[in-house]
Symmetry: C2
Subunit: 336 residues, 2 copies
């Protein structure tokens, strides 16, 4: 089957048409279309158009609010709270961003806590605009319950991604964004469909024993990356994107929220922004950071986090993107 | 050879006698003695009495200042800067702690940046007192240049530990503290002395090729834990505990600072503290976090970060600690 070629503008228009025709208002639909287009442009397929049916499903089922208007409060001048009004991360993130940037510049450090919403997009999409404002930043969000702790026997955590960004004046920001699980749930699912075995260390079966059978790992649990260290990071994400900000852990969500559609579970997000200019003379820090990156670039073949995304982006802005026929068909069936 | 049994008080007195007899004044010596005793009590041998000769050597050589008086400034009301006056982390940390706790309670989030000093102790020792004040917190510090990035061919980063703490009302805090390298440099050194091979993935030789020969890995580089993810975390630590706070990366330190003694290189530290009470109703967050820990405890055999340290601590407070005869001899030779 031949892929369908779309310009980024065509892709954005398609997303908007689907969302606006399925119970979304512009304040939710436009930021969602933007993050989907950005993900496709950066070749992050797993957070691109592939996610559109899930957004639609969660609104169609009545779980999520396509007309949500995020509400911002500041319990202190350094903390921005966003009540997402049962809507989605992109609108919540956009609406809180100016206050977060202002607070980080004023205090040198500030935090944004999003609650009562659904985060279904790539974390780097929230990080990048903050780096463009000259800030270093983290974002943390809880994924769907699917991961057992290192040394454990059953699910306790989500895939719990962590993203960090460092601003650079004359180059794209240094940004990483990775799941704290060994692999994404989708990768395990693909191995199952292909009849392939999992690499050792990806999963355990329902009895808590190591398995390379994708079906058994899906019934049991996935494992964190990096043994006890990745496991500790994943627990950290549960605590700071859950209880810290008054939200549920992935285990509580799975126990308490019935989800009968293919959309995202409810979940919180924590973003922390730092203004380097408040910590030290900016020229000193910038020169030292650029020396670090120059030393990294001097190692032949070394790829920095986000290099691949930027190469894909350049290509996409010139030539558009290719969407699989199968995905296009599924998306077009959602058109009103 | 039989170990030497010491009570924690005897151990502290020994550390103090050595430090005060070798150019340290009390404001530096006492906090150092405290972190060494705490490390031994928690069975963190690598940060215990074993480090005392290094502290002494760096002052004897004139590189570090045993009489340092840390200076605190606040560029904003949420950022505490500590100029360690070429002294050591323990005194700098202690002197900045009250201001950091006050700033975190006032703003909900605050940071401490230590510079112009030497951090040679365990990060969890800085985290624990903050959790006892009810704060969630991170600490980051840059280790000695020794680690190649994932996909790289030579040293670019230090062992760069990351520590996180979560406060608990009726239980010891959840605290982890791990190097972002696959192993500590000392572990590779021990394998070399024992004539043992390294596990695959620990190191590369000077040509950048994988090696299991400890001597070749020491001449080449160690590797980060968890592939490209641990590598990204290690780079993050270089940026936030270096350039962000006006300090050098480990690569710059190795290039610019001549170190002819066995003491610590100069290096910065970043600590971030969050007050959960500022983010959400505290009872809600506490209940949700404790449900998470109860679910973790329900998995048979699962050990939480710091469980092992707390078990050792209870034992040490009752029965003291055992120090190897060899280490005791080396320490006693430093007595005036």
């Amino acid at each position: 089957m031949i892929d369908v070629a779309l310009s980024l503008n065509e892709l954005r228009a398609l997303c908007l048409e689907v969302l606006l025709g399925n119970g979304f208002e512009a304040q939710q639909a436009e930021p969602i279309a933007d993050v989907i287009v950005r993900a496709e442009a950066d070749a992050c397929r797993s957070h691109g158009l592939y996610r559109l049916p899930g957004y639609v499903a969660s609104v169609s089922s009545g779980r999520a609010n396509g007309r949500a208007v995020p509400k911002i409060t500041q319990p202190t001048s350094a903390i921005i709270r966003v009540d997402a009004d049962k809507g989605f991360g992109p609108a919540a993130s956009e609406s809180a961003r100016p206050a977060l940037i202002a607070a980080a510049r004023r205090h040198g450090i500030a935090a944004m806590a999003m609650g009562n919403g659904h985060h279904f997009h790539a974390l780097w999409a929230d990080i990048e605009p903050l780096t463009q404002a000259g800030l270093a930043c983290w974002a943390f969000v809880i994924g769907q319950l699917s991961v057992a702790p290192h040394g454990g026997t059953r699910k306790l955590m989500g895939t719990n991604p962590v993203s960090f960004g460092w601003p650079r004046r004359d180059a794209p920001a240094f940004i990483f964004d990775f799941a704290t699980s060994m692999a994404a749930r989708g990768e395990v699912e693909l191995k199952r469909l292909a009849g392939e075995a999992l690499p050792a260390g990806w999963g355990i079966d329902p009895a808590g024993l190591p398995t390379t059978d994708p079906a058994m790992a899906l019934a049991g649990a996935m494992l964190p990356f990096g043994g006890h260290k990745g496991s500790a990071l994943s627990m950290m994400v549960e605590l700071i994107a859950g209880p810290l900000i008054g939200e549920m852990t992935s285990h509580s969500v799975a126990n308490k929220v019935a989800i009968a559609d293919s959309g995202p579970p409810p979940g919180g997000q924590l973003v922390i922004a730092l203004d380097p200019a408040a910590f030290a003379p900016q020229a000193v820090g910038e020169a030292e950071a650029e020396t670090f990156f120059a030393n990294a670039r001097a190692q032949p073949g070394l790829r920095l986090a986000s290099d691949r995304r930027h190469a894909a982006r350049e290509e996409a802005h010139r030539h558009g993107v290719n969407i699989s026929r199968d995905l296009m068909d599924r998306v077009r069936r959602l058109l009103p």
